[in-house]
Symmetry: C2
Subunit: 446 residues, 2 copies
């Protein structure tokens, strides 16, 4: 017997395959079907168990998931693209996601050729597992006031990394809680004054690779206090080990400063980058990926809600008449249809933004910074727009399902739990304009 | 050294004690301090462990909490009011909350004197632990279409309770998942046609007390399929065992129908209630309590956010000047102050509504239905207003705290997780007005 959904599908004049061509790269759907069927046979990817786990259990699970994905990658000879697809299909944000999206990326874009040659193969083998430590307890948006210090010791040729006070603790660092053995640390570079090696001068935030856990025992290294910051609101990112770290005079070799642009010589001499925005490019990466991801998140929620509202009947319009599908109610369809359109808008715009970002990245690597300003504005605008609209849309879609939307099993709750974080990460959605309007607005979105 | 909060408190011209007199009943604050100090010494009430537990662990914990509360009640000779206060102070919604707020209430208002004399003492001793089963998988808002059947067997003088199909399964029933041994069931009453005992006629939904689990073993009774529906969105009501139940020809004595108003005689004869709205009064109870609770929920969130934003500094307004408290930013204070005002508004209006409800209940018991219509309108309006405003306000307050608001430990996430359910329970916040505007709107809020 055809379901109500079958009936509606049979009546459409739209060719779903053509829509698919708009939304997906060529070959994507075929690869997805192939990989999904592999994951579907493996109990570790069973999504029905996850809602019943606590944060610690979820972290165990996500590490097991990732290990299994690596095994499958090797067994099936997956390409990088296929592996990324498999990571996405299992449905949870993995603790390793920032290893690839931030740690590896920042070494690739800010590291010298020698640094890349040393670190990237180790990263690829997951011998070195890393994360990206920028935010501190007391400073997030105002990057210029970060307090973690990297003092250069000319005598030994090492940097000494330290957290001056409790508030300087690196906090929220994805992948650091239980998994990473290395982190890129954003720390203020201090170099001795020429002629007065006991006095230091600040050169502002720079990037350093710091080992945090033993490669043998995975125990914290000397001088390192590291751990998980605990559950996030709404159970969001429950499979990710956001962590904290404090440094007590931790010594790292000079070669661990990422020196593609700015450099510190053995003598303690500072070599300025050719252009002070050269280090900016890769920082846009995380933001440029947000709109397309939120668009897909909303698309999934709206798909769930639409299917439910086509099946669900409630209230007759004539006495003793049949109850009507909820989707026929104005108060439901006039909320869901615009959200469906919105998800298309952000997926399409987000794909375009990502393509522009890739193009800009190539240009920046060649020293051409022309498109940086436009990329900055666009990525900020689309990030704010997509996070505001999609998060609101997710709750709206959930509420269109009435009581059943409030079950974790409706699937929309977990989407909202992750998506709403986008309103406060990678730059607040609202710039805190100060009470004195004559003052310039702080550019917290850079 | 005075904290920033101390400085602000020292500068106020408002007498907090006077504000307290407005918000609390006389003696409430003293009792709260006394009871909080008792709970504070007991590890079972330690709130720091809860974020790390999964649904099953939370259910275990909340049962332990409730058991301990009963022991403390007896040890300290608490009054009902003090016990209620202790239940509130421990901070979680308990599986037993609907035992008192719905099961006991409905017996007290819909049961005969004999039924009350039989059931209420057993409820008070928690020998009988109950819940209230109205919503079904396929019907929530449209109560008139509920399918669970209560057929009267004249031969044995029993009702036969049954779930005609999967969609008739009672679903979402708070307290039923693991705890209750009884439930009040809203079921359609079927009585044999006079002169034709094989044909039955429907008399619409009525209320029946049905045992679901053995008083000895706590195992499901014959004909009963019962269990927990699993986690809710955002981890909301994680300490509550919302459950489901199916009935396969479950026989209960005629005396288990709540017969204060409508009655079924031994002969199968139906005696109409004096007034068809007589059973309505107690159904407003759950809704009438919503605005004040949401007002307090928002008040807690805004208090957290204000304190944080007074301490948190970010960005200087002059080069090299000190960073400013976030609360001084227009974009923060102009969001938080109106939310503070809103919480006062809903607490005060909600207290008034609750007082009106208590008064109406007394009048209804005396047969005076005059204030029913106004109470209905007011409770619906304030329910919709408070749930829309307070839920939005909770997320807004959380976002004013930037990244740290997204930690579960900020305390706002759990408030939102519970509060947002109010937009879809006890009547949807948006009436699904049908696409044909000439038709009357379904009165789903009754």
């Amino acid at each position: 017997m055809p379901t109500p959904l079958d009936a509606i599908r049979a009546g459409t004049t739209i060719d779903p395959h053509k829509i698919g061509n708009l939304l997906f790269d060529p070959g994507y759907r075929e690869a997805r079907i192939r990989i999904a069927s592999i994951l579907g046979n493996d109990r570790v990817f069973d999504k029905s168990l996850r809602p019943h786990l606590n944060h610690r259990q979820l972290l165990h699970l996500s590490l097991r998931i990732f290990k299994r994905l690596l095994e499958l990658r090797d067994a099936h000879g997956w390409s990088d693209l296929e592996f990324t697809l498999a990571c996405r299909l299992q449905g949870e944000t993995l603790p390793t996601s920032l290893h690839d999206a931030a740690f590896v990326q920042v070494i690739a874009s800010q590291g010298t050729k020698e640094q890349q040659a040393y670190w990237l193969p180790r990263c690829k083998r997951y011998e070195v597992v890393g994360c990206y430590a920028q935010t501190e307890l007391a400073h997030g948006s105002n990057v210029r006031e970060l307090e973690t210090a990297a003092r250069f010791d000319v005598t030994s040729g090492e940097f000494v990394i330290s957290s001056p006070r409790l508030e300087s603790t690196k906090w929220w660092i994805g992948g650091l809680g239980v998994m990473a053995n290395h982190t890129v640390v954003q720390a203020v570079l201090y170099l001795p004054l020429p002629g007065n090696p006991l006095e230091y001068k600040s050169y502002g935030p720079h990037l350093f690779i710091v080992p945090v856990r033993s490669l043998e025992t995975h125990e914290p290294l000397p001088g390192i206090t590291v751990g998980d910051i605990g559950p996030k609101a709404y159970g969001g990112f429950g499979t990710v080990d956001n962590g904290y770290v404090q440094f007590r005079e931790v010594r790292i070799p000079r070669e661990n400063m990422l020196m593609r642009h700015a450099q510190v010589m053995l003598t303690g001499e500072y070599v300025r980058p050719a252009h002070d925005k050269l280090s900016y490019g890769s920082m846009v990466a995380l933001r440029a990926g947000i709109p397309v991801n939120l668009g897909w998140s909303l698309a999934r929620a709206v798909t769930i809600a639409l299917r439910y509202c086509i099946h669900r009947r409630q209230f007759a319009v004539t006495p003793d008449g049949p109850e009507q599908p909820v989707i026929t109610y104005a108060g439901v369809k006039h909320r869901l249809y615009p959200l469906l359109a919105l998800s298309y808008a952000y997926i399409i715009a987000g794909r375009e933004l990502w393509a522009m970002y890739q193009k800009m990245l190539e240009e920046v690597q060649r020293g051409n910074l022309e498109s940086l300003a436009e990329m900055h504005s666009l990525s900020v605008a689309l990030k704010v727009g997509s996070s505001t609209d999609c998060v609101r849309g997710l709750e709206e879609a959930r509420k269109c399902m009435g009581g059943h939307g409030y079950s974790h099993m409706s699937g929309i709750g977990p989407l909202f739990a992750n998506a709403t974080a986008s309103q406060t990460y990678e730059g607040l959605s609202r710039t805190p304009s100060h009470h004195n309007p004559s003052l310039p607005r702080p550019t917290i979105l850079t």
